[in-house]
Symmetry: C2
Subunit: 359 residues, 2 copies
Amino acid sequence: MPVDFMDELRRREQRVVGYFSDPRFRDWFRPEHLQRAVYAYIERPGKRLRPAVLLFSCGAVGGDEDVALPAAAGIELFHTWTLVHDDVIDHDLKRRGGPTVHEQGRQMGAEELGLQPAAAIDYGNDLAILAGDVQQGWSVCLFAELAAKGVPPEVVLSLIARLESHVLNELIRGELLDVQFATLDLDSLQQDAIIEMLWLKTGILYEFAAMAGAMIGLATPDTDDPTVQAIGQFAAKCGTAFQLQDDILGLVGDERALGKPVGSDVREGKGTTIVYHAFRQAKDSQREFLKRVLGNRQADDADVAQVMRLLRDLGGVEYTNTLAKEYIAQALPCLDGLRPSPSKELLLAWAHFMIEREF
Amino acid sequence: MPVDFMDELRRREQRVVGYFSDPRFRDWFRPEHLQRAVYAYIERPGKRLRPAVLLFSCGAVGGDEDVALPAAAGIELFHTWTLVHDDVIDHDLKRRGGPTVHEQGRQMGAEELGLQPAAAIDYGNDLAILAGDVQQGWSVCLFAELAAKGVPPEVVLSLIARLESHVLNELIRGELLDVQFATLDLDSLQQDAIIEMLWLKTGILYEFAAMAGAMIGLATPDTDDPTVQAIGQFAAKCGTAFQLQDDILGLVGDERALGKPVGSDVREGKGTTIVYHAFRQAKDSQREFLKRVLGNRQADDADVAQVMRLLRDLGGVEYTNTLAKEYIAQALPCLDGLRPSPSKELLLAWAHFMIEREF
């Protein structure tokens, strides 16, 4: 990975964060608890890989990244609201090195409003639901601002309609499949279904980010344009690989670099290809143990650590790593039709970064 | 109220329901549990007062109601997703004569997925959060469809941006104030704060519905247009009166006509002008009793019934009824600048219906 890729990534991050940190937005969100909830994740360090692929894609088709900036900020916010609601659903307590929005809300309810424990939990969840709701609206507004940058209104409407129908619906379908998988018996877990869920939960939004960048760069409202489609396919495959890598890091990653506890996926019973593969390789006694611990929120630390070792030892991590590399290998040729440019180079470097990252 | 007003209202309802019942939308929402959650409220009987004021406003400025139909469907859906999330937040079990979305989801989780009681509750809440999320997106998509009806894209973008910023943010602020009020001591409840909360939670969306109808009818993206502003003020005041009437019906209404249990506002500790006025009129012993029962989810039926009697006897209902009538009286002159037309007559009849309704 060339050193300058990380520089280029950080430069985009600064511009995107600068865009949605503009003070004109802050007063939109009141009372103060809601404002703190809305800004919680976006003010913490993040990789901002979705805005990056949007901007690189715009440049790679000959467009001006500056024009696409509102959409880059919009896609990051769209991703953010899904995290806020996901965290409520998954009962997660940490995200990006701090408390999740609903956990932070619980603390505010208890400490600042003097609520009893059960009422404080409700208050935190309420705050997170409402914060995610306004973030969804904010992200749509950021896309609408493209018109002021000179993007034709038909293109802007096409982007908003696709984001709020196909992209949103597939993403939520993936999230609900994820919820339903956690209720399934391990014997019923199917690899195809897991991959479909990953594609929906992560691939779809990456696909849209790249398509949006290309549509803005080409000033076309046509989502079926061959260049738009090719660049979308590229990003969707990389996004699926990204999620496979995420599942790996959830088992073998560094807790501080990740900003969330390693092992939470185990207690949550998350349906991953790691679990799928390991379970198929396991002996009967190991299967019984896996069934007992996976998805058991009360599981003790020793059992969780033992499951994590077992998933590695049975080859689940290696298997998933190979899968992720295959997705990247399939993604790269999608860009063959693009003429050489620095932006195209950045897209290729971005693809490799998706699975080489350690956080 | 002229008999034909109800006919006119029902005709609009049929057209709006017909629009979002189009089979082309149904496949957007999968898996099946999500689809059932998304359609739950919109398939039950409803008053559809927001789409009605949008269509009447379009006609009253000389526009074609048919062109505004996607927006009318969009505003009803926007209202619907806020109900779905509100019901999760308020732990309500009934809405429009059936189970709330999260309660229906809990039943599906228990009966169809075999989940244990606590897991089924989580599943129902997850489903309702996600269903509201996709409904928000769907409503934006319906607005985007205005462009295909010939509404200039600049007007469509202006409507979407206002809905997803000002309207959404004020509405959510109102919802959070409502949540916070339920945690307040009765002594701290202020009438101004209650009215502001009503204005935000209900008035804002009515204001937008009327503004949207007028902007479509006038083909203007200008939210500051004097006619657009006047018609918006009219609807906002009527919307606030509507919510005051809603609080009254929550105490003295007919359970079957309302489709939800009378008395739930008492257990929830809802901050209303009824409670505010009655508490100010109450003797010390009555205040103690009100404090003990209001907001106590475990309160028994006899205590709840006694509180409801007390709120009436202390004049809370009459006081609130007078307030509602004042808002309607202030609203009517806002339409003075509109030339006479059947649509204007319907707007005036609609205003009276907002507080004369018994369901």
